[in-house]
Amino acid sequence: MIEEKFDAIVVGAGMAGNAAALTLAQRGLKVLQLERGEYSGSKNVQGAILYADMLEKLIPDFREDAPLERHLVEQRFWMMDDRSHTGLHYRSDDFNEEKPNRYTIIRAQFDKWFSQKVREAGATVLCETTVTELAQDAYGRVIGVRTDRADGEIHADVVVLAEGVNGLLGTRAHLRERPKPDKVALAVKEMHFLPRETIEARFNLKGDEGMVIEAAGTISRGMTGMGFIYANKECISLGIGCLVADFQRTGETPYGLLDRFKRHPSVAPLIEGSEVKEYAAHLIPEGGFKAIPQLYGEGWVVVGDAAQLNNAIHREGSNLAMTSGRIAAEAIFQVKSRKDPMTAENLALYKTMLDESFVIKDLKKYKDMPALMHTQSQNFFLTYPELVSRAMQNFLRVDGTPKVEKEKTTFKSFIKARSWSGLFGDAFRLARAWR
């Protein structure tokens, strides 16, 4: 057993764990961070869009040395059917600002950099160490962790669980349930390498400008899911994810879905001639506000994906992870400064502070969205994209049909597919869930 006792042990060196360990160490606490990967980032998968604001709160001058890929000047939303896409593009030169708001990053490289900052702040970071369970006393209070190293029990006043979406330790200690198939999505992704100039030409970019495409529609075969294509400097991240429950229901394969997405006539030319260098898969929490578990207890708090803090509608996760990690650390610091014990009663401060932040406020706003998207997946991801594509084609094709008739045809196709009440119902439900 490591005899030394720590103020805090942080399990996991992803976005949430690094934010927590950094903040605790900056406040002068004695911190041990444990990570099962060879280095911070070697197990982590993301699209990945980085939101600058939340990182700035931790490392104000991060732009000086962080491994950033491209700053985003353009966002494309694609509604796809099998042969077409209807797009909404937003591009603005305003995004070419001194301190850009969003960047693409490569997680394995970014996390390594972030971890270096954690070490520099004074935390002890131990990689290649899998935490196997929480150590609890006779009253069930968490007093430390057990690892797969010899004599691996280590003690601390508080354990910060930043273990990611699978949240194995929390489940094993009965602090929360295992994620359910309808509350997590499985995403698969590939890294496609191309010369820099080719990427810039294909996506209409200059210098370090970047763009991302979010795509939905028949590519997910009637399942609740989304595809993405993100431009990095010399590679393209391309992936697709759907609810695990939907994979279970349909028998679709994740790699089959990915390959169909890659072969889509709107996608194939973008990656033509690329060299694939990695194939990854990861879960994403999709349950939203209603899936958030107990966030604190006797001697522990849970942050990031392990607490299901993920905004699937806006594709935000790492920023919620960073913010929850930072806030948990600030709460712990306050309890410690008052020389109070790390009891559930005192650690409730973390939840109070998180409730006041954008993290919980945003998730609350969309609390009905996950259920709506899931129960209506056939309509939102299959029927509507097909209808919109037909309507667009009907609108654009010049074939001698009078415009009045064209409009009637489009109208009728919508009513036929969903009926008046269906259409109004969907619009109403969507608006209400969005409110």
Partner: protein
């Protein structure tokens, strides 16, 4: 179990780096005579195609190509069909990009 002909998962896994912990599988399938529906789901749902049917119709796992996503845990751990852990520290998949 027909898989889309053009997709060879083995080729995809070949891009990845792994440090295999020989003889210490981090996921184990409970011995069975007839597989449960959950186990059968994994033949298609595992993104690394680690689950396969043997000639006796039982589901087997080979964890060498596992990318540690946790999908099989979400689907099969509850029914007791599998035991799921992470590999030992440092072992398993090593993402260069992620």
């Amino acid at each position: 179990m027909s898989i889309e002909p053009s997709v060879r998962v083995e080729d995809k896994l070949f891009y990845n780096r792994y440090l295999v912990d020989a003889g210490r599988a981090h996921i184990k399938v409970r011995p069975h005579t007839t597989p449960s529906p959950e186990l059968l789901t994994m033949l298609k749902a595992c993104p690394a195609r680690c689950y396969e049917l043997n000639d006796k119709g039982q589901v087997e796992i080979t964890v060498d190509g596992c990318i540690e996503c946790g999908t099989c845990r979400v689907i099969c751990e509850g029914s007791g069909d599998i035991e799921w852990s992470y590999p030992r520290g440092g072992y398993g998949v090593l993402f260069k990009f992620g």
